[in-house]
């Protein structure tokens, strides 16, 4: 499997507390001293990546997170691949009645986790450095998200630089009251480019269901355009709890 195609499998999400797309990174930060714990499972072909994350809002515009990525593949047992420490800083926030506009930058870096974990990460294209910018317009009826990220992906043959651009639109058919169980449908597009001309475009339908502090999400990212890449559809499920 080629590295870029593997990066297609494992992106680096960072914690968010509001409605969030399934695959596109949102710009939302946690409220001050608010915590969140999340677990995502992605399956691509016969490879499964499990990402667990804990995040804390240090200041209203500043969230820090710790994330672990473990991978289960046919040729290797279920093993930790990376530990990431991440941060997100909100640069712009516009509050209007029932409308929220946000722009944030974020980054994540790998912590040392041992040679074995490093080899797993390199075999599966898990990035060790990532920076990005993300924006959103959120409203009662629906949301729109855009995200651009750059990542360094160590592989067994050297580092690869990769960029990902994502767009997502969310529609809330029946906006619920506070605390009500509420569903939101997402349509997402993710364009991924890596050094050497590797290009992948994927489209994803997604569903997010939440109450006031619990989230369940499900989405399928289907590659519709591939150049020099092997990319299978990715199924992702995730849960998140706000503390």
């Amino acid at each position: 499997m080629r590295p870029a195609a593997l990066f297609w499998l494992v992106a680096v999400p960072l914690a968010a507390r509001a409605q969030e797309p399934i695959f596109v990174t949102p710009p939302v930060t946690m409220y001050q001293f608010g915590g969140v714990f999340g677990l995502d499972i992605e399956r691509t072909g016969r490879t499964v990546a499990m990402t667990s994350e804990a995040a804390l809002g240090v200041l209203p515009p500043w969230t820090v997170s710790l994330q672990g990525v473990a991978i289960d593949a046919p040729d290797s047992p279920f093993e930790l691949a990376r530990l990431h420490v991440g941060t997100r800083i909100r640069l712009v926030k516009v509050d209007r009645p029932r409308e929220w506009l946000l722009l944030s930058v974020y980054g994540a870096g790998a912590l040392p986790a041992g040679d074995y974990a490093a080899r797993i990460a390199e075999s599966h294209g898990v990035p060790d450095l990532l920076i990005g910018v993300s924006g959103a317009r959120m409203a009662r009826g629906g949301d729109a998200f855009a995200d651009l990220s750059l990542a360094r992906v160590p592989t067994l043959t050297g580092n690869v630089l990769a960029g990902t651009f994502g767009l997502a639109g969310g529609w809330r058919p029946r906006p619920g009251g506070y605390g009500d169980l509420e569903g939101q449908l997402f349509g997402e597009a993710r364009l991924h480019y890596a050094e050497g001309g590797v290009l992948t475009l994927g489209l994803a339908p997604g569903l997010l269901v939440h109450s006031k502090n619990k989230v369940f999400k499900l989405g399928v990212l289907v590659p519709v355009l591939r150049r020099d890449a092997d990319a299978d559809p990715t199924v992702k499920v995730g849960v998140k709890f706000l503390l």
């Binding site: 507390r17 001293f33 906006p175 506070y178």
Partner: protein, 106 residues
């Protein structure tokens, strides 16, 4: 001039306690906070958490469609607009206005 000073002192003596008393909530008094930016339960969860931690607050009710946060106050525990504004800011939103509602007037 002397009369004016006496009048002012009397006014001060009468008016200040009255003003202070107006800030001290009676049983059933509440606040209606107009909060901009709230669009969903997950977003507004922080507002409930931040305001709910205040000693002066007995209960918080968020109304997403109207952008209102109704805060039921503990009797005898005044809370200032600046405190409310700060907590809403820490929750990630902006407080546009505060309406103090006496129990009798509802």
């Amino acid at each position: 001039m002397k009369n004016a000073l006496v009048t002012f002192a009397l006014w001060l003596g009468l008016a200040l306690p009255t003003a202070a008393a107006a800030q001290v909530p009676s049983p059933g008094d509440s606040l209606r906070l107009h909060v901009d930016g709230m669009v969903c339960s997950l977003c507004a969860y922080g507002v409930e958490r931040r305001l709910g931690k205040l000693d002066q607050v007995e209960r918080v009710k968020v109304e997403l469609d109207s952008g209102l946060v109704v805060v039921l106050l503990n009797p005898g525990a005044p809370v200032s607009d600046s405190t409310l504004s700060e907590e809403v800011r820490r929750a990630g939103f902006a407080l546009r206005g505060v309406q103090r509602v006496k129990r009798e007037s509802r």
